[in-house]
């Protein structure tokens, strides 16, 4: 077994680490307060190639495998999560659908401009009455000649205020349940497309999540993504693909928090000595370090499995669950170690604490991940039983 990374991935890691440290992190407080990532930061990120991570080289991206993406996401996780989310949602759920299920024509039309970041991608599944139960979506798509007419509402769509290309799930045949859902590539300037209210959020400031509305919106039939009736399965595959990347972002944030906490524990003097000398503080740090180490190993193992084209449904669900839960535990301990300072908004710890919270909810809640794991375990059991 060999845990070393290829040298070009090490080089990418160093570059992104440098970039994050010098170009993004100094602006984190500003991004948090203004709830906006400066255009200059996004432009520089685009120049670096950060918007083409999933897109193959032939379409202008760098076509990284999962291992490579996780290396980059780990580094991006070390700064304000709102910035990371813009990039993560674009490269993950926002563009993977077209990369995986798009026709040659669709790829040629959309991917080159998505790879440069000229067109930002988004993924629109959730609706007011359909969150965890995504198959309950009501947005309709009715075929009319060579086009589909879409009507409905999506909520909580990350990147919606500035995205150009949306992967949208809609019902083409209500009688078939989940098998009656189809995915479409929707452009924001299709007539009948409208972005609604931008949500005020607990965290992820700088990243914007909004409602979108389709009012008799016409989508040409060549914009059906994959086959009619496969939209739900496509959505699940796109979400499953993103899980390792999300966990890698959690990992980066955890590493940041451990670094800060370790330094603070050595510098903060109470009762005449650094609080690090209190065994309870040492144990907090030891627990954080252990969970982070396990998360790191798990992230890269699932990334590797994904790159070997192994079935990772169970492992990816475990990883998303574990990564987000570890992030929350680590953030809680980091606040605790920092005492009052951990609660103060002029210092970054409380921001990570708030940003951590969403990771247990979006891209499939922790409870749903457990359902997926259990369903896979059940399948395994049925299979062994069949063998006897």
């Amino acid at each position: 077994m060999d845990f070393t990374l290829p040298s070009e991935l090490e080089e990418m890691r160093r570059t992104i680490r440098d970039f994050v440290e010098h170009e993004v992190e100094p602006l984190a407080m500003q991004i948090e307060e203004e709830d906006r990532v400066p255009d200059s930061v996004l432009e520089k990120s685009k120049e670096l190639g950060l918007f083409g991570l999933s897109i193959p080289e032939e379409y202008g991206g760098i076509g990284l495998n999962m291992l490579g993406k996780c290396v980059i996401y780990e580094e991006l996780g070390k700064t304000i999560n709102g910035y990371t989310t813009i990039i993560g949602a674009h490269n993950g759920i926002g563009s993977v659908g077209i990369v995986e299920f798009g026709t040659k024509e669709q790829k040629e039309k959309y991917l080159p401009r998505m790879a440069t970041g000229e067109w930002i991608g988004a993924f629109a599944l959730t609706e007011p009455q359909a969150g965890s139960n995504a198959a309950a979506i009501k947005t309709t798509a009715v075929k009319k000649g060579d086009r589909y007419i879409l009507n409905g509402q999506k909520i909580y769509i990350t990147n919606a205020p500035y995205a150009h290309v949306f992967t949208v799930m809609a019902v083409t045949d209500a009688s078939k349940g989940a098998k009656g859902i189809t995915s479409f590539i929707v452009e924001r300037d299709f007539p009948g497309f409208r972005v609604g209210h931008i949500e005020k959020k607990m965290g992820l400031h700088g990243s914007h999540t909004a409602q979108i509305f389709f009012e008799d919106m016409e989508v040409p039939e060549e914009n059906v993504l994959g086959r009619e009736g496969e939209g739900y399965v496509n959505a699940l595959k796109i979400l499953a693909n993103g899980r390792a990347g999300l966990a890698a972002r959690c990992l980066g944030s955890c590493e940041y928090l451990l670094d800060k906490s370790l330094a603070f524990a050595h510098e903060r003097i109470q009762f005449g000595k650094p609080i690090f000398e209190q065994q309870i503080i040492q144990h907090y740090l030891a627990e954080m370090a252990l969970e982070i180490e396990l998360l790191r190993t798990f992230v890269y193992r699932v990334a590797w499995m994904t790159d070997q084209k192994m079935n990772v449904i169970k492992e990816a669900a475990m990883l998303k669950l574990y990564g987000s839960e570890v992030y929350n535990r680590v953030a809680d301990k980091a606040v605790q170690i920092h005492g009052g300072l951990g609660f103060i908004a002029e210092y970054p710890i409380e921001r990570f604490y708030r940003d951590a919270r969403i990771t247990r909810i979006y891209e499939g809640t922790s409870e749903i991940q457990k359902n997926i794991i259990a369903a896979q375990l059940h399948k395994e059991y049925e299979r062994t039983k069949a063998d006897v």
């Binding site: 040298s7 070009e8 090490e10 080089e11 990418m12 160093r14 570059t15 440098d18 970039f19 520089k44 120049e47 670096l48 190639g49 950060l50 083409g52 991570l53 080289e57 760098i62 990284l64 980059i72």
Partner: protein
Amino acid sequence: MHVVVLMKQTFDTEERIRLVDGKIAEDGVKWIINPYDEYAVEEAIQLKENQGATVTVVSVGNENTTQALRTALAMGADEAVLIEAPDLSDERAIAKAIVAYLKDKSFDVLLAGNFSVDNGAGQVAIRVAHELGLPHIAAVTKLTIEGNQATGVREIDGDVQTVTATLPALFTAQQGLNEPRYPSLPNIMKAKKKPLTTLTLSDLGLSNDDVAAKVERVEVTLPPKRQAGQKITGTPDEQAEQLAEILVKALR
């Protein structure tokens, strides 16, 4: 136009220096391109982009130095050469190795950093120019090349100085020359396929005697720890009196 950049890999300037057995500990240290050399690399790539040039980066170092050379390739250099000579210590020897490599090469512009942030001698590049009999302009903050004429701008105490030279010539880069780019992710991938040649001293026809150190490093020490400050208290008059006393004592 052929531009050759002389480049050194150094400690990250943000790294804390530790001494182990009288030597600077190198384990777990982050290595970077010497910041002044990074300006030189960037300048070379800009010459390539704006005027058309091939860029070769050359470094004397060890196997670990390939990392810095790959970074330069990812920034946009075309070709890298590692002169593998980990034991060379003095600037004269390093310059000798570089001269041995360059003497039968053709090039128009030699670029290097003003000095390296680790040893700070600022000698290697100038020695190379001297041995090759080339004009050089040190610490440029602006460089213009037109035909075979180069104009370098240098900042001198409160003023600027403009110096011209005929190519081939050597220039060392000062802070302010440019803003080095981050290598983009696609270029990091492409850099993998660019040529990186490793040469030894014997490949360059140099014997151990040729590169024997003329300077011996006797001792390395950390700067003395700063003493804790002394607080002066009392009424302004009392404070003035105490301060005068301290100053007088220190002057004696």
